[in-house]
């Protein structure tokens, strides 16, 4: 067995912003915490730049972070504090968004 496991990946965020970082800042609330995103970020981008999951599977309780990013897999639906459901990959983040990722999302 060949192993190349010397480089640990211990960052919290899943995504890494490589470019387009000069856009207008927006604040939104993620699991009760005020965090910053940029105008034009999707909800998926905004959340996964902070942490590594979007939702918890209803069935297994395992974390999920979306999959196809193009509106096909439906694995990135998140719930807001008022119970609204958003498909995170195809919804743009907006000021006033208040989203929960730590509980099982409603079907």
């Amino acid at each position: 067995m060949t192993r190349y496991l010397n480089q640990a990946c211990d960052q919290q965020a899943q995504l890494v912003r490589l470019s387009e970082s000069g856009r207008e800042r927006i604040e939104f609330v993620l699991d009760g915490r005020v965090v910053e995103a940029m105008q034009g970020d999707t909800v998926l981008t905004a959340i996964l730049l902070e942490q590594s999951h979007l939702r918890i599977s209803d069935l297994s309780g395992a974390p999920r972070a979306g999959f196809c990013l193009m509106g096909a897999c439906q694995d990135c639906w998140v719930t807001t504090v008022t119970g609204q459901r958003l498909r995170a990959c195809s919804t743009f983040v907006s000021p006033g968004l208040n989203v929960l990722t730590g509980q099982e999302s409603s079907k």
Binding site: M1, T2, R3, Y4, L5, N6, Q7, A8, C9, Q11, Q14, L15, V16, R17, L18, S19, E20, S21, G22, R23, E24, Q39, G40, D41, T42, T45, L49, S52, H53, L54, S57, L59, S60, A62, P63, R64, A65, G66, F67, C68, L69, M70, G71, A72, C73, Q74, D75, W77, G83, Q84, R85, L86, R87, C89, S90, T91, F92, S94
Partner: protein, 468 residues
């Protein structure tokens, strides 16, 4: 066909835009319904308007085609009814049911061109639902549409032209590409060269990506078999096997896929006749050379009716629109249109040869089902395993996918089998020793995508694009 002429195009990628443009050229005012925020589809997807990267940075060798397609659509916006961020969730005879920002609508049509495109074809491996595992197409969307990498150390795995393209785009954008792991063998890629020479420019592009990656020290492995994504709560590495043995590599993201699969749900709901396509290992809606489906007034164009690639999709969009014109006029083409149609059909033959070459270069991993363990999750919505499918087949006599669905809930979840359908057919038929087409296909059902019970309008500058 009676009443008013109202052509509708679903999709605004290469096929949809060229179809709309051709209809406008013939004096019609089509409605174009696009799930995206801006036209371009997936391959030429445009970032939000406040993003600054150039077309060359975004689309590389495809930038002139992307630019031409974007301009073509911009040039007809005032001559069409463009409904962006709008989902067609149901189709009936002569009317589509739509949803835009939580508002339902109905769009009547006399002639419908379906140009709904494709998504990655998925063959699961253990750990594929972990955060950090995305499709190859998804990885590309993150970069192109959002300027983000899916991780700090990224592995690309599976097979198909997208594998090398996305790896190249990531490396060029400054991401750390830890490895490219191709299930195809190098010998298969060499053997396919004669067929790929039918489109020399595309072959050269593919070889350029590969050479560039090698020159920049990206590890490329051929003939691999994915073993698993490592990690408990998220990806921490990947394990694979090749001729030299088993290997593990640290990474925090994996992009994977095995070429593409067509989005055929609307054609299905409208009752179009489907047949099994051996090359694509999928049931596809039947269309004539011009793109007419088996249902009068319904036309098919682009990857949504069978994977042929973006260039062919542009041609197919134009050709389907010419068929609409001809059917409306109920007469022969003008000399100009006849010439155009003939040229397109000739060019499509070249695309088909190229497509067969790609299929040889990046073949479907035939042994996949035989290596899938019983605990491998196949349906990520309902969390149905390979073992569940095998049990339905062997204990309860299910031989066909809709029966498996009824017994296991496979494909009954939110994605309606877009992610699991291809893999489930492989597992089912392999364990029964049947041929792949005996699995049939899971039927599309309305709503073809989930409709939010409560929804909010998307607050962005793109909302103003609607109906412009």
């Amino acid at each position: 066909m009676s009443g008013t002429i109202q052509p509708v195009v679903v999709g605004a990628g290469p096929a949809g835009v060229r179809a709309a443009q051709t209809l406008v050229q013939h004096g019609l005012r089509p409605t174009v319904i696009d799930e995206g925020a801006l036209w371009g589809g997936q391959i030429y997807r445009q970032p939000p308007q406040n993003f600054l990267r150039s077309q060359a940075e975004l689309y590389g060798f495809g930038s002139s085609r992307a630019d031409a397609l974007h301009r073509a659509m911009a040039g007809i916006l005032n001559k069409i009814d463009y409904q962006s961020q709008t989902l067609v969730w149901n189709a009936q005879d002569q009317a589509l049911d739509t949803m835009h920002g939580g508002q339902a609508g109905t769009v009547p049509y006399s002639h419908l061109i379906i140009a709904t495109g494709a998504t990655d074809r998925i063959l699961p491996f253990p750990g594929w639902t972990l955060p950090g595992v995305f499709t190859l197409g998804g990885a590309q969307v993150a970069l192109k549409f959002q300027g983000c990498s899916i991780g700090r150390q990224v592995v690309f795995m599976g097979t198909g032209p997208l594998l090398y393209l996305v790896a190249y785009q990531y490396a060029r954008a400054g991401a750390n590409v830890a490895a490219v792991l191709d299930t195809a063998k190098l010998s298969e890629q060499v053997r396919s060269t004669p067929a790929l020479l039918s489109k020399p420019a595309l072959l050269v592009q593919g070889m350029y990506y590969l050479t560039w990656l090698k020159l920049h020290g990206v590890h490329i492995a051929y003939g691999i078999e994915p073993l698993r994504a490592l990690g408990a709560e998220r990806v921490s590495g990947v394990a694979w096997r090749d001729a030299k043995g088993e290997h593990e590599l640290a990474c925090d993201a994996i992009g994977f896929g095995y070429a593409l699969r067509s989005e055929t749900q609307l054609a299905d709901i409208l009752g179009c006749h489907f047949e099994f396509d051996v090359t694509q290992r999928a049931y596809l809606p039947v269309r004539d050379e011009a793109g007419r489906s088996s249902v009068e007034g319904v036309y098919l164009a682009g990857d949504g009716a069978g994977i042929m690639g973006a260039d062919a999709a542009e041609l197919a969009g134009t050709r389907a629109a010419l068929a609409v014109i001809s059917d409306i006029q109920g007469s022969e083409f003008s000399v100009v249109d006849q010439h155009r149609a003939d040229n397109i059909e000739k060019e499509m033959v070249r695309s088909k040869i190229f497509r067969l070459g790609l299929e040889r270069a990046f073949p479907f991993p035939q042994q996949w089902a035989s290596h899938a363990q019983d605990d491998l999750m196949i349906c990520r919505c309902e969390e149905i395993t390979a073992g569940d499918i095998r049990q339905a087949a062997l204990s309860s006599g299910a031989t066909e996918l809709n029966r498996v669905k009824a017994m296991t809930r496979l494909g009954m979840g939110r994605c309606q089998s877009r992610m699991c359908g291809a893999a489930a057919a492989e597992i089912l038929t392999h364990c029964l020793g049947n041929n792949i087409q005996s699995a049939g296909r899971l039927r599309g059902q309305a709503p073809i995508k989930p409709i939010p019970f409560v929804s909010v309008p998307v607050q962005s500058e793109h909302a103003s694009q609607r109906g412009s």
